[in-house]
Subunit: 266 residues, 2 copies
Amino acid sequence: MTRKPPLHTAKTVPLGCSRMRSMFLFYICYLLSLFLGIVCVVFVSYWNSYWRGGFAWDGSALQFNWHPVLMVTGLVVLYGNAAVLYRIPLTWSQNKLPWKLLHAGLLFLALLLSILGLCAVFDFHNAKNIPNLYSLHSWLGICTIALFAAQWTLGLAAFLLPCSPLELRKLLKPIHVWMGSIIFTLSIAACISGINEKLFFALKGNTNETKPYSMLPPEAVFANSLGVLIIAFGLVVLKILSNQRWQRPEPGQEEESSEPLLGRDR
Amino acid sequence: MTRKPPLHTAKTVPLGCSRMRSMFLFYICYLLSLFLGIVCVVFVSYWNSYWRGGFAWDGSALQFNWHPVLMVTGLVVLYGNAAVLYRIPLTWSQNKLPWKLLHAGLLFLALLLSILGLCAVFDFHNAKNIPNLYSLHSWLGICTIALFAAQWTLGLAAFLLPCSPLELRKLLKPIHVWMGSIIFTLSIAACISGINEKLFFALKGNTNETKPYSMLPPEAVFANSLGVLIIAFGLVVLKILSNQRWQRPEPGQEEESSEPLLGRDR
């Protein structure tokens, strides 16, 4: 693999007022995404431990509770953080390889958590003789994870294997970035429909313990708020991915397009 | 209002091979978006007329059936078509004002249908003493329509009122385009969660007429497919909006950013 020399942006491009302002805005968005990501993980964990009875791995409803926690943590929060990694200006003056490895490693962890999240719900369904993969939420979720697995494998082969030619990388990069944003957007839609579905299942109001969802008990307000937080996190991450000024500059590739979901094609 | 002279792209910019290829790809995507949009409207109408008993405006479940039809038609299909209107290269050589009026008119119709769709579900809920706005789907949907109404009103004031200054338009345009894509993405997430929710309500399997959702009766497969089609339509529209080469060129504004959801900020 031909290694590119590290970029010393501070030396080659003087930091003008506009650039400083852009970097300041980036760090505001980045800190916001970190904060919202942590709050999402705290909310989904608290919801399932406090209101849904906690966790187990025994085919019971407590095993199901891992599903939302692992999906929000892996497919949304870890995935989103891995996606914006290259945008951090502090890393631009360093060799890209360690950041590629961290990007791939975080996404591998995200994929692993998502697959564990799938196992949690499949085991629960199988133990209770509930069919798998019938709802629109499940169709969307399984397609998202299949795309994610294909994207990760292809990404490893194209961008980390030393034998992959540079021309192939150049060709695949915009597709990789575009697919990355698509998968992230689909995962958020899957989470929203999943939380909505779970609340209708859990809050039927047919026991003395729970009020129905339609009465908006505290659990419903809390879990709806989790949905709103996930959307806010998604919008901040997509905003970071979209801003071309926040893309890591590549030597000789300033004109190369590598825009996400809604980026320019060239 | 200072009117800009029409652009005669064919005269000023020779159509090279790359430009022809770009335009060809645009029309492929545009025709695909038109086709998918029509199929979405047919699917949502057929689902509610064939399996859900048709339509009425009497507070019954037949009134509820207007809700998905009006939301998919207005908030997704009409909205998406209005959003990509400026991207049609055939219109670039013409005065922009009639296309602005068509853009605003189509979006007004989309807003009207969405508000009618809201009335359908509110009337149904009120007639059956079902609380309004408790589910995550409804929170997402009502926020989307509120944002849409604000966006339309601000868009009218800023881009169609002759007294609005050019500087203000220049400032607001990227925000208007960005918000437009956000609203479209949120509306798709709201539709997916809504279809999922409706199928759990409708297909409980407690009558001889319907099998439960989990048994995937033909209605469930059909309505899940509607969800998949809506996502496909959304991705094609977002792809069209994202491609800078497909943006209507503005005289002296080639460098001005007006990118959607994931576009570049300047």
